[in-house]
Symmetry: C2
Subunit: 368 residues, 2 copies
C-alpha cells in the first residue's frame, strides 16, 4: 500500500461479554486471546505491519489503558497514541483519529481496524484491505464485509449490490452497500446466508479522510464540530484545555449509525468482501471454538487444570494455579479467574455482561 495509507486501531470497550476474564481495568484487547503470547491488540498491530509502517499506525484508547497500550506497542510513536478522557463511542474515536491524521498528512486514506478481532489468512486480509484502499481513494466510504459462513445472529449485516467490474488483484470485486441490517433473527440470518448478497459487518472501514469528514459534517455536525475543535488544538499548547472542555460534549454514537448507514442510502458506501477466517472474540463460545481443546468430553481453554466426570458440552476457562472440577454438569460455561468465577448456561454467554451490570448496580465496580 502507498504512503498515504494510515491505520487506526480503536482500542476501547471493556469486553463485558468476556467478564470476568476481561475487566474494565484489563480489557480483552490487552489479553493474549490469540493462541500465542501476543495480545489481541498486538496481533492487530502485527497484522497491519506489512500494510503500514508503525509511524502511520494510530491507536485510540481510554486514559486507563494508555500506559498498557504504550507498553504493549513500543514501536508506536507516542504522538500516535490518542487518549480519550472518557469513552464517547466509535464515531467520536474514529472521527478524532481521522481528523488528526488529516491535519498531519493532508490527503490521507484512513483504515480503522478493531483491536479485538482474529484473522487466519493474513495474506487474503492484506489483499482485501489493498482493494478497499484503492476504492477509497476514489471517494467511496469502504467497509470490509465478511463472507458469512453460518447464519450468525450475533452480527450486523451489509446488504450489497452486484460486484462491480473494478476488481483488484487477489481480492474479490467491490460491491455497493445498499443498506446496513441489524442483528437478525435466525430465520432472517438463514435467508441472508442463502441470498449471496449479505456480508457480516466486521466494523472495519477504509476512507479518504476528507471524504469521511465531509460526510460527518453533513450528517452529524454535532459530532463534527467539537471533534474538529479538538483535532485543531491537538498538536498545540491548548490540547488539554480544549479536550477537557469539549470532549465531554461529543455525542455518543456508533460510526455505523451516524455516518455509514445514512451514507449507504445515498450510494456512497461500498465493501470488499473478505474471506480470510475472521473471528470477533466476542464471547466465550468463540473463545472455546478458537482456543479450546477437548478433555474428558468438555472444552478446556488454555493450560489450566480441569477434572471432569459425567459432564459434557461445557466450556471451561481455568485460571493458572487453580483447579476447576465438574461433576455431571452440561451445557455450561465456567470461567475461573484469580478473584472471580462465573458459571453460566452456555446459550446465555451473550448475557454475561448483564452480570457486570448487576455488579455495578450493587456497588461492586471493583469486580467489573
Amino acid at each position: 500500500v502507498q504512503d498515504d495509507f494510515y491505520a487506526v486501531i480503536p482500542a476501547g470497550g471493556s469486553g463485558t461479554r468476556l467478564w470476568p476474564l476481561s475487566r474494565t481495568s484489563n480489557p480483552k484487547f490487552l489479553h493474549p486471546l490469540t493462541g500465542t503470547d501476543r495480545s489481541l491488540l498486538q496481533a492487530t498491530f502485527d497484522r497491519l505491519a506489512p500494510l503500514v509502517t508503525a509511524g502511520r499506525v494510530y491507536v485510540v484508547t481510554g486514559a486507563a489503558h494508555a500506559d498498557a497500550v504504550a507498553q504493549q506497542l513500543p514501536e508506536l510513536p507516542a504522538e500516535n497514541l490518542l487518549v480519550e478522557p472518557s469513552p464517547r463511542d466509535s464515531c467520536a474515536a474514529i472521527a478524532l483519529a481521522t481528523e488528526i491524521i488529516s491535519l498531519r498528512a493532508p490527503g490521507a486514506v484512513v483504515g480503522s481496524f478493531a483491536a479485538d478481532h482474529l484473522i487466519n489468512d493474513v495474506a487474503a486480509f492484506h489483499a482485501t484491505v489493498r482493494a478497499a484502499v484503492d476504492c477509497a481513494r476514489q471517494g467511496q466510504l469502504m467497509t470490509i464485509g465478511i463472507t458469512p459462513s453460518r447464519p450468525e445472529t450475533g452480527y450486523g449485516y451489509l446488504e450489497c449490490g452486484d460486484p462491480t467490474a473494478i476488481a483488484s488483484p487477489g481480492a474479490p470485486a467491490p460491491q455497493q452497500v445498499l443498506a446496513f441490517r441489524e442483528k437478525p433473527s435466525v430465520d432472517v440470518a438463514t435467508e441472508y446466508l442463502k441470498s449471496g448478497h449479505h456480508l457480516w459487518n466486521a466494523g472495519m472501514f477504509v476512507w479518504r479522510a476528507d471524504a469521511f469528514l465531509d460526510q460527518l459534517r453533513q450528517r452529524r455536525p454535532d459530532v463534527a464540530e467539537p471533534v474538529h475543535r479538538i483535532a485543531a488544538a491537538w498538536d498545540g499548547a491548548s490540547r488539554d484545555a480544549v479536550l477537557s472542555a469539549v470532549w465531554p460534549t461529543v455525542p455518543k454514537v456508533a460510526v455505523e449509525y451516524a455516518v455509514m448507514e445514512p451514507a449507504s442510502l445515498d450510494g456512497l458506501v461500498s465493501t470488499v468482501p473478505g474471506d480470510f477466517g475472521w473471528s470477533d472474540i466476542g464471547d466465550f463460545e468463540t473463545v472455546g471454538a478458537l482456543f479450546g481443546h477437548d478433555q474428558d468430553s468438555v472444552t478446556v481453554v488454555g493450560d489450566g487444570s480441569v477434572v471432569s466426570l459425567d459432564s459434557d458440552g461445557v466450556i471451561v476457562v481455568p485460571s493458572e494455579g487453580r483447579l476447576v472440577a465438574l461433576l455431571d454438569v452440561h451445557d455450561l460455561v465456567v470461567v475461573d479467574t484469580p478473584d472471580a468465577v462465573v458459571v453460566c448456561r452456555r446459550d446465555r454467554v451473550q448475557d454475561v455482561k448483564r452480570l457486570t451490570e448487576l455488579l455495578r448496580e450493587r456497588g461492586r465496580d471493583d469486580c467489573v
Copy 2:
C-alpha cells in the same frame, strides 16, 4: 454422669464428600462448619463437657492432624490424644481407645462420638447419653439411634424391638436392636419411617470397655489381638516400636460390621432413641440446609460474595475474597476455595468424592 464414663472422639476421615472445602490436609472436622467460629471437633468437645471432664476425653486421629487437634483442643491432656500412624477404619480406632482407657481405668464405660456431627438440643443429647450409659453399665452394647424425620437414603438404620420398661429420666426408654440395615432405597426408607421401629444409625456408641473388648475378641480376634498388643505397649517404652510394627497389620473394618451387627443378632445391642436435632455434616446438601441463607433465589453459605441472575436451586459456598457469579443455572452446587472450584449437579453431591478419586488417579494428590 459418673466418674467411670469416658468419651472417645474418633477424628478420622478426610470428608471427601465435602471436597474441596475438606481436604486430606485440612479435613472437615477441623472446619468451623457449625454456624459459629468453633470447628466441628471443638463443637463435639464442647458438647461433651457437661458429661465428662477434659481429662476423660480421648481423641483418635491421624498423624497428619495431631498438631491441629492439639491446637484446637488445648484442654485435652496430651496422653489422651491417640495418634494413628495410618487409617485402619473405625473398629481399630475405637478398639484401641477403648482398650487404652480400660487399662488406665479398669471398669470404664466408654462412649464414642463422631467429630463431624451437629446437635441442636444439647440437653436432650445429654439425657440420651446418660440413659445409654446406664444401660451400658448393665453390659449391653449401646448405640444412640436417631428418630428419623424423613425417608433419608443416605444413612444406615437400626431395626428395633419394643421399648423396654427401664427408662431413664428425660430420655426415651431403651429398645433392643434386632438388626442393622444398610442405606435403603427411597421406598424402603419410606417404610422404615412409617414403621416406628427404625432409627438412623448415627455411629454413636456407648459400652462398658470389658463388654466391648470381650465381643471383639470373640468376633474378630484378628483385630482384637494386634490392638491388644499395641494398647499393652502404649504407656511403656516400646509404644513406637510396637505401633509401627503391628498397626499396619490391623484389619480395616467398620466397628458396626465387625462387632455391632453380629452382636445385635445375639441380643447384645440396645439403643436409646435420640431426638435432639442431629445432623451429619456429610455433604453440601446438608451444609446448605444448615448454614445457607437465601439470596437472589439461590442458597449462599457464609459471608462470601455471590451474584446470581435467572438462577435457582443452587447451593453456593463462596470463598473469602473471591466472587461467584451465576447466570441462568439451576440445581447445581458450586463450591469455591482459594485453589479449586467444583461445579456439581445438585443430586450428585454424594459423588463429589469420586472427583477426589479421579484426581488421585491422575497424580493430583496435591488437590485432594
